[in-house]
Symmetry: C2
Subunit: 379 residues, 2 copies
């Protein structure tokens, strides 16, 4: 399945790359004075990076689309990419640096690196196939996805590459087939092994990147991400990162990242919870709105913890609505109920969906008390 | 098809009604002093109605779900219901009145009224079946959907029914089959006929409502809506309304409503446009963002005109994204481009979708200059 997806995406990508042939130079250091040259997108919110526009076009990643095909669970994709931005913000301040999609690792390179090492693929970062099929005797695929992000500094009208972040997504469970189209088996990988293999792969990646002239003297941050299982309703999490100053060819030291994601309500099978107070707050909210509205079919939340503190929540409410006025009234009610019952302090998004798509949404930013709301209307 | 839908929804509704048996009295005049009694949802935005909560539950319409089954084009459903709220706001100010879903017309009543008049259905508001099947010789179905909205005034802790609005949705095209499961034919209905039939039906509805004790002395507003065709990408529009003071049993006078909806870009088949300046603004915006982002698959807008002035626009952008960073950058860019290219003055919503659903959205309220944006993230 993954292989077919990959081929499909490669085909798509070559189309796009062909279509984008007039993007001009993709070198990291570039800058012109004409309005047709390099521009920035502007910031949507303080704390976001501006990004680079070249000749009126967005500069897409050189390995665009590879990660889409590498993730059977789409939560791992979004979580990995936003998480990598969060790590980058610790190192490259959005007020000083400008974001550009990765320009140094091509689709081909990334695909080779993500594959197993073999005679035909000497650059593979995953272990050779040892021919065994037992869950604990085979060599699992450790590295599932990787992403490069480039960070530029503006100097007058010139943008200079001033930092690179590499994210490495490591499997906690490697899914595999013993035969093509056969049953799916799982190799579970311990946290200790994930860390050991991740660090070892990071060392190799750093050494390889230093061989590229443009990256020889640029700070390179490498962050390690533990992929969630394929049936998870929330993505995995970054657990470690390392900032490597220009010219260093092996990773010196690692810093721990304490981030965890949970799904509320917790099911009996996944009894782990981030914080029982937050969970009961959510349960109260859920009970309250289910009493209010006759047939809510799903009320769940993703809760994100940093250093054991709730740092964000995405609530998803699914139901069938029978009129626009029901959606409006329900959204008004949610505004009250969310403020009253959901944990205060952390930013919270609430999305209200029906079979026809998103109907309304509410949001509260960090430090605010009230929720703002929007009902998606139609003329 | 419609019949099966109807049956299905009736079945669903009876389930809900059963489940809501403990809603207590649904009489329009009620009010208690306990916190378990009648409450209000609060306003999400000034200019919105508060709505009624009874015993912690939302008071759903007595004919809930009928309109869902009456519309093969869902744009007619949303547009009809929000449009009816807009008409009501002209008559019953949201600062003085509180909204309640219709409590006087039951599912059964509405279904009978929406059907053809016949021996077994003497209350049908659509003409008898004359047995003919020619597009212009048969009697078409004029009345496609209807909705009741109740408006209450608060007096101390008591809510009193103080106004009712009835919307009548009238077909511009009646779709019919000559045989069950056969080909679909169309009877086109002229604007003059829509108005004549609509007024005549309104008269009957008013007279019938006056026979209900609770509605005898309440102002009743009736509004006429022209349904869009089933293949339209935008809903129909209200074109006329009448405010009838308490106890009047026939409609006195009608006021015109000048509202029109258009889809941009206009297709060659639907060459009508609201305003060519607005359309070229939208075309510029579209060209600009399609240059910026490599593979936007759809950029369309619903434009809403009141008295020939643009009074709102919903822009919908569909594409495949290959990373969260692409969505963030694209949204930032849209914020600039929308402010620069889209018509100023009118409120505008922009929704960015992929196959996985809504990815981000931007919005500018009436009188504002900048767009606010939100990217739907996932942990």
């Amino acid at each position: 399945m993954r292989r077919f997806n990959t081929l499909f995406v490669v085909a798509l990508c070559s189309l796009f790359l062909a279509a984008c042939g007039n993007l001009g130079s993709s070198s990291g250091t570039s800058g012109t004075t004409t309005s047709k040259g390099t521009q920035l997108t502007g910031q949507a919110a303080s704390g976001d990076y501006q990004s680079v526009i070249k000749n009126g076009r967005y500069v897409t990643s050189k390995s665009r689309g590879v990660n889409v095909s590498q993730n059977d669970n789409q939560y791992n994709l979004k979580s990995f990419e936003s998480g990598l931005l969060t790590v980058s913000k610790k190192v490259y301040s959005p007020s000083k640096y400008i974001f550009e999609e990765g320009q140094y690792l091509s689709t081909n390179t990334v695909q080779n690196w993500l594959a197993r090492k073999s005679k035909s693929n000497p650059t593979g970062l995953n272990p050779v196939n040892n021919g065994k099929t037992g869950a604990n005797t085979r060599n699992p695929i450790y590295l599932q996805q990787m992403e490069e992000q480039d960070y530029m500094k503006q100097n007058g009208k010139k943008l200079t590459l001033s930092g690179v972040t590499i994210g490495l997504g490591l499997n906690s469970i490697d899914y595999y087939q013993k035969q093509n189209y056969g049953a799916t088996y799982e190799t579970h990988i311990s946290n200790a092994t994930i860390q050991r293999e991740g660090r070892q792969i990071a060392n190799q990646v750093l050494a390889r990147l230093r061989k590229k002239a443009a990256l020889r003297n640029v700070p390179i941050t490498i962050a390690l991400y533990k992929q969630a299982s394929d049936d998870s309703l929330v993505g995995g999490n970054f657990f470690s990162y390392s900032v490597n100053r220009g010219s260093s060819t092996s990773v010196g030291s690692w810093k721990a990242i304490s981030e965890k994601n949970y799904v509320y309500p917790t099911t009996s099978s996944s009894s782990s919870t981030g914080n029982s107070n937050d969970e009961s707050s959510f349960e109260n909210f859920k009970t309250q709105i289910q009493n209010y509205f006759p047939n809510l079919s799903g009320v769940t939340a993703q809760a994100h913890y940093v250093d054991h503190q709730l740092s964000g929540m995405n609530v998803s409410i699914t139901t069938q609505f029978y009129s626009e006025t029901e959606i409006i009234s329900f959204t008004q009610y949610l505004q009250q109920a969310a403020q009253k019952y959901l944990p205060s302090g952390a930013p919270i998004d609430i999305t209200v969906k029906s079979a026809e798509g998103v109907q309304s949404f509410l949001s509260r930013d960090q430090g605010e008390k009230k929720f703002t709301s929007h009902v998606f209307d139609s003329y």
